[in-house]
Symmetry: C2
Subunit: 356 residues, 2 copies
C-alpha cells in the first residue's frame, strides 16, 4: 500500500494542541492496520506571519499540493488583529482554500445522544433528531469578489461584490445532491431569491442539476426563514446547500445546536481527492496551552479525512466510534457534566487513540 | 389635540385579518382617551399588483407621506412568485422603506414569561433573560446595491453589490446607541470585518460614533459567532447593531427564540417621526382567512407606533399590558398549550381591545 501523505498545519492558539491529539489517533489507526503514514508540517496564519512575514507562503501551499490531505488546527489571535486585512491570519485560511480549489465545505452537525443536555434546544426538539449536513460553497461569492473603498456623492464608502457564475453553482450543487443520495435524500437550498440576483441564478442552476437526481427531494428556503427553522425543528433538514456567506452563518448556528462547537469537524474538498480537514471552532487563544481544549472536533476531522480523501471507511467509523465512547469516559470543560469525570485534552486524546 | 393620522396597508394573506384586530385596539385606545384618529387605507404587495399592476403605486406612497405613521400587515403569496423581481409583492415592501427613508428597523425580541414553554431554548437558558433589540440598517447594503447578470470567462454569472457610505452607517449607529441609553447600555455591533471591506468601514464609523456615548458599552462580534451566541446565551445581548442582510437573518433567529414569531412587532423609522409598523411574520397564505392567525405581533406594532411616532408612552404600555393579559385568557394555535383555552384571532383581538 502507498503511504497516506498528510500535511499538518497546526496554526495558532489551541491549534498545536488539538492537531497533536488528532495525530495520535491517526498514527494509532495506521499502526494497527499497517497503513504507512507520511507526515509533513507547514505554517499558516499568525505563526506564519511571525516566521515568514505572510499568513501563507508558497512553500506551504506546495507542501499541501504534494499531499493527499491537509489537517488544519486553527488560525488567529488578538496579536495579529491590527494588521491590514491581507496580512491577517484569516487571509491565510481564505488563500489556502482558494489555491487548492477547495470549493466544497462539508459541515455535518448532529447531536450526540450523550450530549443532549449540552444542546441549548429543548430535549423534545432534539428527540426528533438533529443530523444535518451543511454544504457550503467556499471559494466564491462575496468572500472573493472585488472589494474596496470608493466615494458616493462625496461620501467615503466601501463595497464588496457578491458574484457567482453558473459553473461555480453547478459543481457545488452536484456535491450536495450526491451527499443527499448517501444520506436521507433531501436537499434544502438556502438563498435570498426575493432580493438577490445571485440567488436567482443559484435557483436556475440548482433546478437544472436536480434533474439528474430525480430521487432526491429539493426545496428552497429564504435564509432568514432557514435561520428560524433550524431552531424550530432541525429534524426537517438533511442537506443544506448554500453560498459562502450564508453557509458561514448557518453552519455556525447549526453547530451550536449540537451543544459544543468542540465536537464538530469539517471537510473542504475540490475536484480530486485532496481535501483540507479542520474543526469548525477557532483558535480560542484564551484557553490555549492550558490542556483544556476539546480535541474531539479535530479527531472527527481525521475521520472525515480517512473517509473522503483515502476511502478508508472502516477506519473512519472506528475513529467515530471511539469518540462516542470517550463521552462516557470523561469530558473537557466545554462539555462539563457532573455525571462524568473531568479530563484534560491529552487524556481524551490518549483514550481515543487507544480505542480507534 | 390634533388627530393622529394613520395609513393602513393591510396587504396580502393574513394581512387584512391582523390589521383589522390591531385597528380595534387602536380605536379603543383613542376612544377611551379622546384622541382623535384619522385613518386612511392603501394597497401594497400582491393586492396592489392585482389592482394596479405594480406592488406600490405613487398614490400609496403619497398617502403614507401625508400620515404620521403607517400600519402594515404583510405582503406576498404563491400566486405572485413567478413574476419578475420588480413586480413581486416584496418589491413593494422594499420600495416603501426606501421611498419613506426608513433606514432604521427596530426589532425587539423577548421571551414573555408566560411563553417560556413555547421557546425552543432550554428553560435554564431563557431563565437568564431574553430581552434584546435588533437595530437593522434597512435602506442600504446588498439589498439596494447595483445587481445584474454578466459573463465571466464566457460563463453566465450574476452579481449583487454590498455598498455602504459612512453617512449611512453613522445615522443607524446613532439610533443603536440612543436605544441602548434607554435600555441596558450595551451595543454589540455584528459584522464580518475579517472578510468584508464594508464591515471594516462600519467599524471605523461605529468607533467614531461611540465617542459621543461614553456610558454605553460597545463590543464587536463576527456574524457567524453572533448566530451561535444568540443560542448559547442570548442574555448577553442588549442592542444588536448590524447591516441590512445580517439584520434580516439575525432578527429572524432572535425572533424564533421568543417561541412564536406571531408575538413580535417591528418599527421602521427615519429622520422624523414618520414610521412604518408591522409584525415580523409574513403573510402566511396557508392559514389566511381561517381566523387562526395570531394578531398579537400586529397589536404590539401598534404599541410601538404609539410610542415612537406619537410619543404616547402611557397608551403604548396599556396595549402591551393588555397583550400580556391575553396570554392567560386564551391563545391562537401557534401558542397552543393545553393549560389555556384555544381562541380565534377575533376573540384575542376583542379581548385586547377591551382592556387596552
Ligand atoms: C475565519 C473566517 C474567515 C472563516 C470564514 O468565514 O470562512 C471562518 O469563520 C470559517 O467559517 O471557517
Ligand atoms: C420580504 C423580504 C424582502 C424582507 C427583507 O428581507 O427585508 C423580510 O424578510 C423582512 O425582513 O422584512
Amino acid at each position: 500500500m502507498n503511504p497516506i501523505k498528510i500535511c499538518v498545519l497546526a496554526g495558532d492558539g489551541v491549534g498545536p494542541e488539538i492537531t497533536a491529539e488528532a495525530l495520535k489517533t491517526l498514527q494509532s489507526v495506521c499502526r494497527t492496520r499497517s497503513i504507512p503514514l507520511d507526515l509533513t508540517e507547514g505554517l499558516i496564519g499568525g505563526c506564519a506571519i511571525d516566521a515568514e512575514g505572510i499568513p501563507l507562503s508558497p512553500a506551504t501551499v506546495e507542501k499541501c499540493r504534494m499531499s493527499g490531505a491537509v489537517l488544519l488546527g486553527a488560525v488567529g489571535g488578538p496579536q495579529w488583529d491590527c494588521q491590514p486585512a491581507n496580512l491577517r491570519p484569516e487571509a491565510g485560511l481564505l488563500a489556502i482554500r482558494n489555491k487548492l480549489g477547495l470549493f466544497a465545505n462539508l459541515r455535518p452537525a448532529r447531536v450526540f445522544p450523550a450530549l443532549q443536555n449540552a444542546s441549548p434546544l429543548k430535549n423534545e426538539i432534539i428527540a426528533r433528531g438533529v443530523d444535518l449536513l451543511v454544504v457550503r460553497e467556499l471559494t466564491g461569492g462575496i468572500y472573493f469578489g472585488e472589494k474596496g473603498q470608493t466615494e458616493v456623492d462625496g461620501n467615503p464608502s466601501a463595497y464588496d461584490k457578491m458574484l457567482y457564475s453558473e459553473y461555480e453553482v453547478e459543481r457545488i450543487a452536484k456535491v450536495a445532491f450526491e451527499a443527499a443520495q448517501k444520506r436521507r435524500g433531501k436537499v434544502t437550498c438556502v438563498d435570498k431569491a426575493n432580493v438577490l440576483e445571485t440567488s436567482r441564478l443559484w435557483r436556475r442552476v440548482v433546478d437544472r442539476v436536480r434533474e439528474r437526481y430525480p430521487e432526491v427531494e429539493l426545496n428552497y428556503l429564504y435564509v432568514d426563514n432557514a435561520a428560524m427553522q433550524l431552531l424550530r425543528d432541525p429534524s426537517q433538514f438533511d442537506v443544506l446547500l448554500t453560498e459562502n456567506m450564508f453557509g458561514d452563518i448557518l453552519s455556525d448556528e447549526s453547530a451550536m445546536l449540537a451543544g459544543s462547537i468542540g465536537m464538530l469537524p469539517s471537510a473542504s474538498t475540490g475536484h480530486g481527492t485532496l481535501g483540507l480537514y479542520e474543526p469548525i471552532h477557532g483558535s480560542a487563544p484564551d484557553i490555549a496551552g492550558k490542556g483544556i481544549v476539546n480535541p474531539l472536533a479535530t479527531i472527527l476531522s481525521v475521520a472525515m479525512m480517512l473517509r473522503y480523501s483515502f476511502s478508508l471507511e472502516e477506519e473512519a467509523c472506528a475513529v467515530e466510534q471511539a469518540v462516542e465512547e470517550s463521552l462516557a469516559f470523561g469530558r473537557t470543560p466545554d462539555l462539563a457534566d457532573p455525571a462524568y469525570p473531568a479530563k484534560s485534552t491529552q487524556e481524551i486524546g490518549d483514550f481515543v487513540a487507544a480505542r480507534a
